[in-house]
Symmetry: C2
């Protein structure tokens, strides 16, 4: 027997329709790239998105075609999202901070037909266009007055397109499983891989993110997504804020402490989200200028682990609740949030802090498990650590073009590539990357915990730990460290420093000092490069015993 | 191009799985029908629901079969919900307060195979069984010690069934559009009609209801659904509370003021929901006993309009936020909530109050419109009133068996049968039922507003207004009133009383006093019966001019 409820496909257009119909006057405030603050409403955004969607037929784009964007968080960028998805096109956000070759690879691989870009990326696009012959033309996200001279082929002014478009354009009634967005992961090895979000996955993910037990945005909120639109849907805020009818504050390209502070105060922002680096800059600015935050209530921090001192500063010094979050491009992206359960509300401050520093517990619709190398599930005791696998409607099923082959296990879980513990309350804590964990005599050693301990030494600027082959133990840890300028620490001294901070059998078998540790474009340590470099490294004969 | 995200069907079982996995220790507290308070957890509920689901095969039930329930809000009733739906069966809640003949009609029409019931409803079920030969057997929701003597055929003890069941039963992987629940509307005319909820509609509705901008339940909440499970999913709380991992407090059959007060205080309830009658009793009890509410923060009131004095008492005297809600069995059921938008937070108290007394604005995924008799959309000015139509994934597409024929318009909207205004902010206000509104010379007169005005007269106990045929104006209002005991008001005096309270041309053309006004089983005025009774009524010759 079938249910007899309405067929209401889950489409991204329903989000902006709801926002415009029931929160039509709510503001979207942008620090424009041209300088001044730009203000308008959800009604305006929807109308212009419709104009742009209708104009896309002028560009000879057909439903399913990919259109790339190289842009900051502005109202124009957001308009193109809803316009493209509403026209049945696939909005492909490109991360302008990637290496040129990677960008060219990604745009080619996605077969982007058009590229929309801020004028600040014209030079970058000019360098890309020869490598990407399938890009038919470029749309510059500006008005006629700000159009630069450019040798980009088929360069079009965005505002002219919008002006020519039809504000009453009817959204294309795509299937809910049709692709809406495309975002590439920047792996530390191999080529980037494409994650194709569907209309359904975007709407379901936004609903789950907006749950009261998750981020729970309201129409009374003023939301500042510092996290870029090109980072996996701005952590879903591009959908969840309009769905809730929340005011949106978009920072353009000025993410420094002072600019953010001014925007937060002027627009009475009460909710914001970004990576730790951004908040480091804001906190430094606040401290230097002895300023207070009058409206901010919550800050979501993700992308990398929240440093304890940052959490404490926000909560203790500024009265702002920190929500540690974790996710992946492959997860739409939000997976877990470290908000406190009632069991922890009355816990000792120490335990509350420990929990808030974990990556958190899953939002509804996300499920997770940790397993050993044989695929056996490990207990949720906060101690056992294993490969973290996740499942849900916002989790990737396969990469674009089937790259990497079948990526789900028999239960439909996706391997995150992280190694984690889960405690009895369901809070997950990432301890390492799966490929970086060191397997010694069947037991696992976390490279990240060793690195964190090592950089606590006053003479160490940066540290990386990799596994090196060992006859008896299979692998043993090698600590590679960059000394602080002008210092030359002693290896024995460094090992002594680690003693007591980690389990005895975790102690690295050798320490090597280097001038530099290699990084990816997004700042991650290139462990694979280190493993290649130290492939022939011989550990001391008696090591590991 | 298709998206490449996981296929994760929207199934009700995923809600209880999430609750048990991530909030396994959270309590479900029931005032049991046997008397004592019963406590257990989501882990327990899920395990027992699985046992019951596995035991359903013993009852020779097949996916898609309907199973009726006649039960109060208890942990056992909730277990049967998740058990039945998880086994691919259709949970059909019957309202024990309906007339016997209606219940028999409904159970027959639904072709219920089994009936689950509280022992308090044994007599009722015994009366039903002969009229419903297709009901194969009856399950009594109690343990062996409390099994009554009964002549019900195939009577089974629920606890024995559960004991025999398999706690590791695998949920039946039904299609997300399969029916999960069934609930009949009790119309004022004609036979009740069946609304078949799907797994998909239930999950989407719960997600929308749990949005921060809607009810936004959290795992830190203690939720008391006074509204019965047989009233359209207990206003979605049966799904939304477990989805959020909230503590559930179930009142059993004791809904009097004292019992509710004691439960609220003992379990530190912070969120509750019911119809105005329930809150009237609670407020009277609190006032009489001079008690305070130490934990309650929010109360959702729906089913009929919130009286202003009730809203003011809760908010002013007890510091409890009132959320006026509106929905229908045909809407899963939640449609609108009168929570304040930021535009109104700083408004004058008068305007805030006026808005909170409206039925509210739609939750995400619900859309609405008001139209005139010709189907033309009316403006959202807070003045124009028209037929209210709604659309969304939680809104009915057709009634069971196709009764009533095609019930959606060309845009996919469903006619609620209500007449309403919508203001510029999107707040909807119900002014009448479509079939009760009086159409005078092409203009509409709200029977409800006239009735509300009339009962303000000190000598009037109850009032009903119906339209009576009129040669010149098509219809004119007739006021039918029941005088207060011992009073005999003068018709002219009553009309004088109304003057100035309603538009001049709304004034009834005649007043008739009666001893009694007929009501339905659920307490609604039977206007159709009144219309039949007064079909031949002659208005004064010069009336309406």
């Amino acid at each position: 027997m079938q249910g007899l409820m309405q067929n209401w496909p889950l489409r991204v257009s329903s989000i902006i329709d709801h926002a415009a119909r029931y929160h039509g006057g709510r503001e979207i405030v942008t620090r424009s790239l041209e300088g001044p603050i730009h203000r308008y409403t959800y009604t305006d955004l929807r109308r212009r998105a419709k104009r742009f969607a209708s104009a896309s037929s002028q560009l000879d784009l057909r439903p399913g075609d990919r259109v790339g964007t190289l842009a900051w968080n502005t109202y124009r960028h957001l308009e193109t999202w809803y316009g493209l998805m509403g026209a049945g096109l696939v909005c492909h956000t490109l991360n302008p901070r990637l290496f040129r070759d990677q960008l060219a690879y990604i745009a080619r691989h996605a077969r982007d037909r058009y590229l929309l870009l801020d004028v600040g990326f014209v030079e970058l696009a000019e360098e890309l266009q020869d490598a990407c012959p399938e890009i038919r033309g470029f749309v510059l996200l500006t008005d006629r007055a700000h159009m630069p001279a450019t040798r980009l082929r088929g360069a079009v002014c965005y505002e002219e397109l919008v002006e020519a478009g039809d504000p009453d354009f009817e959204w294309v009634p795509v299937d809910e499983n049709a692709a809406a967005g495309l975002c590439y992961t920047s792996g530390t090895t191999g080529n980037p891989k494409g994650v194709a979000y569907s209309h359904r996955s975007n709407v379901l993910h936004a609903l789950a993110v907006n749950g009261g037990d998750a981020l729970g945005l309201r129409c009374t909120d003023s939301v500042l997504p510092v996290v870029p639109l090109y980072h996996a849907n701005a952590w879903a805020l591009a959908f969840s804020a309009p769905m809730a009818g929340a005011k949106l504050v978009l920072p353009g390209d000025r993410l420094d402490g002072q600019s953010l502070y001014e925007l937060i105060e002027a627009e009475q922002v009460d909710f914001t989200a970004a990576v730790p680096t951004v908040w480091l800059a804001l906190l430094e600015y606040l401290e230097r200028e002895r300023l207070r935050l009058s409206s901010l209530r919550r800050v979501v921090i993700g992308g990398s682990a929240v440093p304890q001192v940052m959490l404490e500063k926000f909560e203790r010094d500024y009265g702002v609740e920190v929500v540690h979050g974790w996710g992946m491009t492959e997860m739409s992206p939000l997976g877990t949030l470290a908000t406190l359960k009632p069991e922890l509300l009355d816990a000792e401050p120490e335990e509350r802090l420990r929990t808030k520093l974990k990556q958190g517990r899953p939002i509804f619709s996300v499920d997770m498990k940790i397993v050993d190398d044989a695929g056996k599930e490990l207990p949720w005791d906060g101690e056992s650590f294993g490969h973290l696998w996740v499942r849900g409607p916002g989790v990737v099923d396969s990469y674009l073009g089937g790259e990497g082959g079948r990526i789900l296990d028999d239960e439909g879980f996706f391997h995150t590539g992280d190694v984690a513990t889960i405690d009895a309350q369901g809070y997950m804590h990432i301890t390492d990357r799966s490929k970086d964990v060191i397997k010694s005599g069947g037991e696992w050693i976390s490279s990240i915990e060793l690195e964190n301990a090592a950089v606590g030494h006053p003479d160490v600027a940066e540290a990386a730990v990799i596994g090196v082959a060992h006859a008896k133990w299979d692998e043993r840890p090698l600590l590679i460290a960059v000394p602080r300028e002008g210092r030359s620490p002693d290896p024995r001294d460094l090992l002594d420093f680690l003693r007591g901070k980690v389990a005895k059998w975790w102690l690295p078998d050798a320490v090597v000092f280097v001038d530099e540790i290699p990084h990816t474009a997004t700042g991650k340590i290139q462990k694979q490069a280190l493993r290649e470099r130290f492939e022939e490294f011989r550990l001391p004969e008696d090591s590991g015993d």
